[in-house]
Symmetry: C2
Subunit: 331 residues, 2 copies
DNA sequence: TTGAAAGCGCTAACAC
DNA sequence: GTGTTAGCGCTTTCAA
């Protein structure tokens, strides 16, 4: 009686108890299928609860009971097939261990820092790709267990390092064996600083006496792969092999080649990186440096949970996952 | 002093307060960048907090403050590009309104009902595709605001209906104009019960005096699109147009045609459904019945929030989103 | 079968 | 600038 639920204020357990003329504990018993309550009382309570559209507060519940564990996953853009494939693996891995996954997407966010901070407040640990200008961690992340995927040596927090160097050596051998003599790298970024995997490719080819030229795109999208390929062929008409920064860009290259009438792999061998399912949808299927996403996810989730439990330090811990050459039809 | 943090028990605000020799309130001030605290005290408190690896409990916090709102999104399988594209739109739409999104993936879950129940306990409202054997709602969902995407007329909870009938009419006209005389539907499901969109297609073609044959696949995947297409052409060699249940299957059809040397659209016109980005990656780009995912997401999120606020009833509410014919190169 | 009391971790409001 | 009090909504004792 004392507090009829107002418009806007959600009903609490007390509202239900009073409306049903029982104690709060009895409401708890009814809501949670607990023993020690008569069938009639239970039904009446549930009836009232429904009437009041009562939903137990997860905060009150979490405060007293075994709190649910949740992982915050920060991805850049679910529209880029790389991220859903990672997210799928992370969700599976987390679900297996009884954790939930909360998702944030930084692309298009007005205030990315706020977004990450908010996620950090909701989750016990964070995994992902927060695009902090590659240096200082987000302020909100100090003291928060965080696993950076695709971490560099000096990335703050824990990290899963993705290492393509060995696979790149295999790719170089493979391309040369297939007859490549004028290879090119379609890298991402601005200026002359190659990405790690770009550098690996350049070095692997140079080492074998078949140096590659380098063309860069600003974005790592399908569209920029296509336009980058056109620019590349305009500048270096003799190119007979292209290693693209990732599979999505490689698909763009493939599209551009289709449109220019260049045959793949006949006239141009093409390789991507990441091992996305997407690479099996296009024709010819993409040769790629494949990442085992399930392995990446297991590593990241395992490390994050370790950090949460205190068995893994919050800073400096690293795991490495290696790419593997996966030869399909585009080379 | 009274309660030194044990191994396993996370430090609370009281642990920090005692260790730093201040009150709980002062710890709160330090942690939350609040005014009314001297710089030195603040630093000392933060120091201690770090030492004890203290993280404020989100439950305690949520209980007292303005609780964060979270949407639970249930998808079948992030590996199917349809879902990430929807998820991306939902996350954007939710973020815009200040809500978080928690994600659950039913594919591969040991106990799907438990998964959904758990999500329901964590979130304020649910959106998605819970695969309950199309009838009774999950038990855990009674009283929980739920918006079913792609709802049928009798689906429990709120629903966003996806309606392809009008677009299907346009497609039928388009196919016939392009010369199709022996069209086929590559539907999903078992037996003779066509899907809604399958039925629309059959009817639209029949109405125009160009009846279509129907072939079904068990799954709506890339692989089953490919094998379904092979089976279809084996059974009906003269087919000159295929409408696939969705874009992913249509890509499979395209792959099978490449392999059989059938030209698309030259010998076979091909259309998909959903309007996924994927359709622009393949060659030729896929003609499709496109869904505006941003619109779907806005509708679902808007309805879910309305249900949460009590302005929309928990049952029976419907919104309709229509597909639109998007002609690209495969027809 | 039911109810009363205690307390989970935190912050807003109000002392001092 | 700092501490004290009260209370958020819930479940877990324990007592009736």
């Amino acid at each position: 009686m004392s507090r009829p639920p107002h418009r806007g204020r959600p009903a609490t357990i007390i509202d239900v108890a009073e409306a049903a003329g029982v104690s709060r504990q009895t409401v708890t018993r009814a809501m949670n299928d607990m023993p020690g309550i008569s069938r009639v009382t239970k039904e009446r309570v549930l009836e009232v609860a429904k009437e009041l559209s009562y939903r137990p507060s997860r905060y009150g519940r979490g405060l007293v009971g075994h709190s649910r564990r949740t992982i915050g996953l920060v991805v850049d853009d679910l529209t880029n097939p790389y991220y859903p494939q990672l997210a799928s693996a992370v969700v599976s891995s987390a679900t297996e261990r009884g954790w939930n996954v909360m998702l944030a997407q930084t692309a298009g966010a007005a205030d990315e820092a706020a977004l990450v901070a908010d996620l950090a407040a909701q989750a016990d640990v964070l995994i992902g790709y927060p695009r902090t200008a590659d240096g200082a961690p987000h302020d909100a992340l100090v003291g928060v267990p965080f696993v950076h995927v695709d971490a560099g040596p000096s990335t703050p927090g824990g990290g899963v390092e993705l290492d393509a160097t060995a696979a790149m050596e295999d790719l170089a051998d493979h391309l040369i064996e297939r007859g490549a003599r004028r290879p090119a790298l379609l890298d991402v970024g601005t200026g002359t600083v190659a990405t790690d995997r770009g550098r690996s490719f350049m070095r692997a080819m140079a080492t074998r006496g078949v140096p590659a030229v380098r063309q860069t795109c600003e974005l790592s999208t399908f569209g920029s792969g296509a336009s980058g390929a056109r620019a590349l062929l305009a500048a270096h008409p003799g190119v007979d092999a292209v290693m693209a920064f990732n599979d999505v860009m490689a698909c763009g290259v493939l599209r551009a080649m289709h449109e220019s009438g260049v045959e793949v792999p006949g006239q141009l061998r093409l390789a991507g990186c990441d091992g996305l399912d997407l690479g099996t949808v296009v024709h010819p299927a993409l040769t790629t440096l494949a990442l085992d996403m399930a392995e990446v996810a297991r590593a990241a989730v395992g490390m994050a949970l370790g950090m949460f439990e205190g068995t893994v330090p919050l800073e400096g811990y690293r795991t490495r996952v290696r790419h593997r050459l996966l030869v399909r039809s585009s080379t």
